[in-house]
């Protein structure tokens, strides 16, 4: 007969059953069936699928499409009356021009100018009898205005040259340098992916914990002869699978539709995402341990994930942010995930770039899990 212990831990020591072989088998089957139960539940939960997979993807598609065309501003230009400069252009020159400009002919100068003001056209072009070409443009979009000026200057210059029948003395062969940091999709993909993974793991862990506590599933688990380790590891498996699915979908969509170019060590993003998932789960675990209701867990998670995503450069680069904000972002695991994911995905970063980040993320996860463990409650009351 055992004696009643007088120690009163808040959380009973989580421990597996006796260590015979059958017991080991049981634990394995419990691990798989618990993982399966969670995966099925998630798969059938439309809202969860939406927020974990589709919502981030919508962002990627949206940002990806918006920024896709921005490197070649296609301008709408209204031509009033005859403009010899354009009208005389034929063949290759003309088709090159049509690639960047849409030229609409009109005769109403005043009306067209008004349209330019309103933004219906980006610019208006006229040519006086003296041959002077006039370009009137709005500077609402500075990039486009600059590009427009450049195009006209070069057209005019070329026309002048042709008029003098002289070979140009100097030719500038300008080519854009493939500066990866400038191509939006190259930083959007790791950034939004990081945000998606953080959302999935934080919310997943927090809501599951609170929901299980509230519906007494947690009590069921506690009454079953399975160890806390089994429960935790199957939750980790589910979160990892989710994160890898997100990563896979993101990379496929970004490379096939938005021209993302992966660099050699891109696969390093997988262990990075795995370590980050553990870090994010620990945040969710903490939120779920503190929160009593699902609404509270939701709120706490949101309050953590959203600012963290902004500060970590998930949506736009933080290079221009004030120094103190950049310092704040340095305590956030997402910052390191985004940074390292960018490095290995698009800047040719290697193992040496990724390893310290992974270590840091794991350390973060360990510390937060420790705190969450202390605050963990099996029951509501």
């Amino acid at each position: 007969m055992t004696t009643t212990t007088s120690t009163e831990p808040k959380v009973p020591a989580p421990r597996g059953g006796s260590a015979d072989a059958a017991d080991g088998r049981e634990r394995v089957s419990a691990f798989w069936s618990l993982s399966r139960a969670m995966l099925l539940g998630m798969k059938r939960d439309r809202t969860a699928t939406f927020f974990i997979l589709l919502f981030p993807l919508v962002f990627l598609v949206f940002f990806g499409s918006v920024t896709k065309g921005s490197s070649t501003p296609h301008a709408k230009v209204a031509q009033v009356g005859a403009v010899k400069l354009f009208d005389s252009m034929t063949g290759e020159g003309r088709s090159e021009l049509d690639k960047v400009l849409t030229i609409t002919r009109t005769d109403d100068e005043a009306g067209t100018l008004e349209k330019v003001r309103k933004g219906d056209f980006d610019a208006m072009i006229t040519q006086g009898a003296d041959g002077k070409v006039e370009l009137r443009y709005t500077a609402a979009d500075q990039v486009r205005a600059g590009a427009l000026q450049g195009i006209f200057n070069s057209v005019v210059q070329e026309a002048n040259q042709q008029a003098t029948h002289q070979a140009p003395a100097y030719v500038v062969d300008a080519q854009q340098v493939e500066d990866k940091s400038l191509k939006p999709i190259q930083f959007l993909t790791p950034g939004l992916l990081g945000w998606a993974v953080a959302t999935g793991a934080v919310f997943g862990a927090a809501l599951t914990l609170v929901n299980w506590r509230k519906t007494k599933v947690l009590r069921r688990l506690r009454l079953a002869p399975i160890s806390a380790g089994t429960v935790v590891s199957s939750r980790i498996l589910v979160s990892l699978l989710t994160a890898f699915l997100q990563t896979g979908v993101f990379l496929v969509v970004a490379t096939s539709f938005f021209g993302l170019k992966l660099t050699g060590n891109w696969w390093l993003v997988l262990p990075l995402v795995a370590c980050a998932t553990l870090a994010f789960m620990s945040i969710g675990l903490l939120a779920g341990s503190v929160a009593r209701t699902e609404e509270a867990a939701n709120g706490i998670s949101q309050v953590i994930v959203l600012p963290m995503s902004f500060l970590s450069g998930s949506f736009f680069p933080m290079d221009g942010a004030p120094g103190w904000l950049q310092t704040v972002s340095k305590v956030m695991p997402l910052h390191y995930l985004v940074d390292s994911a960018q490095s290995v995905l698009t800047r040719g970063g290697g193992v040496t770039d990724a390893l310290p980040t992974m270590g840091g993320l794991l350390l973060f996860a360990a510390v937060l899990t420790g705190i969450a463990w202390k605050l963990f409650r099996w029951e509501d009351a």
């Binding site: 007969m1 421990r15 089957s29 139960a37 539940g41 519906t215 007494k216 009590r219 009454l223 099996w378």
Partner: protein, 305 residues
């Protein structure tokens, strides 16, 4: 052989509420034991303490010779628990649910499915638990508690919300598992249920056990009381009181719950003649004492299920 359960002086307080106020009980192995009491009596809290999911403020519990608190993994496979509210994973079907829980105990899918069948849910196997009716969820919850063949079973109001047919079926099931030698502890609001199923019942109110005994013995203690009731609305309760007093009837209780006018008495004849004179015999029922009367006598108030 040690008792299946022995509890001594358990107390539990929630803020101002003394939910359990010094409960001691012993349940023998193989016994069918009932805890009977109205809402808020402390039945669920007592069960939770016995099961080892709640640590009592005071008192000592032993299940099968072991302390259930702190969590004791050796004990867990030997007990089965059904909670008052069903606790299922989200978005799983009945079959997936019971198979998942069964797997925690190393019980295979075949046995899990058989259990599902045994509680009459075979045709609901592919239904999501969220879409099951209250009674179906209740039965699934019971099946989950029984799938791993526990020797000690705790059921918290297992028949609440079941239709009469399902209730009878569940009674049969519970009797069967008890006949197989398992110890069953159940709480209920239904006196007839306790009367039919339990070897012994404890009547509980305000966190205390008022009386414990075999239902028949409890009833025998007050078996000279007869309960007479007629349909309500034929005779105002005040008028009835006057007439019965005038007729010299010995009335233990008299009340009208708007459905029926009920009188408990040791001498039915004068009461019946008063009712007959007033032509108030519609819906007449005369029955001997039940646990309800026991409860009434113990607590001084009507049992409210």
């Amino acid at each position: 052989m040690t008792a299946a359960i022995s509890a001594d002086g358990i107390r539990q307080r929630y803020g101002d509420v003394q939910a359990v106020d010094g409960v001691s009980l012993t349940v023998e192995a193989g016994e069918f034991y009932g805890i009977l009491g109205p809402n808020g009596a402390g039945k669920t809290t007592t069960m939770e303490i016995l099961e080892g999911v709640r640590e009592p403020d005071e008192g000592r519990v032993e299940l099968l010779g072991m302390a259930p608190w702190p969590r004791n993994p050796k004990l867990l496979p030997r007990i089965g628990v059904q909670f008052q509210a069903s606790a299922f994973f989200r978005k799983l079907t009945a079959r997936e649910t019971i198979r998942t829980f069964a797997s925690f105990y190393g019980v295979g899918p075949k046995r899990a499915d058989a259990m599902l069948e045994r509680v009459g849910l075979a045709d609901k196997a592919e239904t999501l638990t969220e879409q099951m009716s209250g009674g179906q969820a209740q039965r699934l919850s019971i099946a989950c508690a029984l799938a791993h063949d526990p020797e000690l079973v705790f059921l918290d109001e297992p028949t609440t919300g079941l239709d009469p047919q399902a209730r009878r079926n569940l009674w049969d099931l519970l009797r069967d598992i008890n006949d197989e030698g398992r110890t069953v502890v159940l709480t209920t609001h239904y006196l007839d249920e306790a009367e039919v199923l339990c070897d012994r019942v404890s009547i509980m109110d305000h966190g205390r056990i008022l009386h414990t005994g075999a239902p028949a013995a409890l009833i025998r203690e007050i078996d000279d009381t007869v309960r007479i009731s007629v349909a309500s609305g034929q005779l105002p309760v005040e008028r009835a009181r006057e007439l019965l007093a005038a007729a010299g009837a010995d009335v233990a209780t008299l009340e009208d719950d708007t459905v029926s006018l009920s009188v408990s008495t040791r001498l039915p004849a004068p009461v019946l003649s008063v009712l007959a004179e007033q032509n108030a015999l519609r819906g007449l029922e005369v029955r001997g004492a039940t646990l309800e009367d026991v409860f009434l006598q113990l607590t001084g108030r009507e049992f409210r299920a």
